[in-house]
Amino acid sequence: MRPFRLLAVLLMVLPLVIACERMPTPPELRQVTLLLGFRPDVQFAPFYVAQQEGHYAAAGLEVVIEHKQAPDVQRLVADGQAEFGVADATDVMIARTAGIPITYVSTLYQAFPVALIGPAGVVPDDPAGLAGMSIGTPGRFGSSWHALLALLAAAGLTEDDVTIREYQQFNQVDGLANGDVDLITGFRNNEPLRLEARGIEVELLTVDDIAPLPGPGVIVGDELLADDPDLVRAFVEATAAAQAEVIADPDIGFAAAEATVPTISEDPDVARAVLEATIELWRGEEFGSGRIPEDLWRTAYETMRRLGFIDGSVPLDEMIAPEVSGG
């Protein structure tokens, strides 16, 4: 009977141990939830640094990170089930127009991360050269799709002038490597690295000079922004500070990410290269850490309206809150 008694005692003690681990935070720190994309990644280094190096704690926050897929991030933040999220700017425009009450409060990526990627020599210098090409993309939604249509429209083209091939498993890289498509949409800090690792030299066609679009940033629910702007500001500033640290010293960011992201240990060199490429997208002299460039947004708003993704019923100033990180 003794082993059974021991087991019974353990079973009774176990819930207590688990409960202890989940003890509420010390009263000085407010617990908030941050929703990030699909799974932990080295690109979320600023958040990991802010958690581990005390930036959030110094701002009186304990930040719990959860991972969700895109439309759920917007919905949960809007409904108040999470305080903060990271979302693409173009998605925010569409969601806000569709009636989801979120506001973009801080820029994370000063450069728009999506580009058209292809083998050297194949990628046209000018979007007019896209006519007749086959392009691989995850699907007919998201910032990749918006960027592609914006590039085509800049040359007076539509999706009917190209052949679209959907890669719902986000494996358009394989399609390009196999020669199934001429070009793919992808993230500047991801697909080019993977292709170069396969020995394929690539070139990029970016939206920046042709149809500029804002990059991903932090979103909050309208209700939270109205009720507690100080909380929002505190989070945004702490995050911006941590991001600045990582930009200045990537090692800090890498160390914090290594502690949180399980897959980094499998291929640390690739993760490191991704982090450094990502830092290039965060960095920008034009408008400073976290700030929201209103002119860029205005241009992008018009582009999205002309493309038919939004109908203009919700004005731009309801979508962004530049005052949060301004100043």
Binding site: Q69, A70, P71, Q74, R75, A78, D79, D91, I94, A95, A98, G99, I100, P101, G139, R140, F141, G142, W145, I164, E166, Y167, Q168, Q169
Partner: protein, 246 residues
Amino acid sequence: MKRVGASLVSLAVFVIAWKLVTVVGSMPEYILPAPEVVAERGVRAIGSGVLWEHAGVTLVEIVLGFAAGASLAVMTGIALGKSVLVERVLSPYIVAAQAVPILALAPLLDIWFGGGLLARVAICALIVFFPIAIATMVGIRSADPLLDEMLRSLGAGPAKRTRLLEIPSALPVIFGGLRVGVTLAVIGAVVAEWAGAGSGLGVLINIANQGLFDTPLMFVALAALAIIGLAFHGLVVLAERRLVIR
């Protein structure tokens, strides 16, 4: 008429309960839209042709996928039912294929079958296969051995006994499998579309959800799938009434 009346009442109860949930739970439209919002969005989607464009694609996938899967399943089920050896040889693979989640297999199948309508029909057929094959096998084996002996005494060989006794005996059970199978065909078509399709109600769900952040439209697509499933199920029940003599 009583049956129709009862169905209408239960539908009304369902819609009212739905509305109550949205009101009592203060559900925002982007999380759970109220029935009238979905209805209005549906009317707009039908008017703009969007709904039919996608529903038509999915209907074709369902019809072809179910037809292919069901025929293959009935033939396999007859073989399984008649021969213990065949059952022993085949059933490990059939059961294993059923146990692997189709959602994981579907992208691979999509590539193997060339990514077009054929791939989606194949995925749909695969999902439909198992319950119909098993139902057929059980049905074939349920044939009355006394009747079997009677037929043998009249000189009927195995083929005649299958046609005259085993298949008609199996029909009630087979139709049970077909009812399950036809509703699975709807799921199968959506799963197949998620593996890589340009249009269809499954794709519309994705577009509405991730592209347009239009939750009411997503519910319209879901409602369309439910209606399609009900319609096909009803057709199978009608066929059952005609073909199965009790």
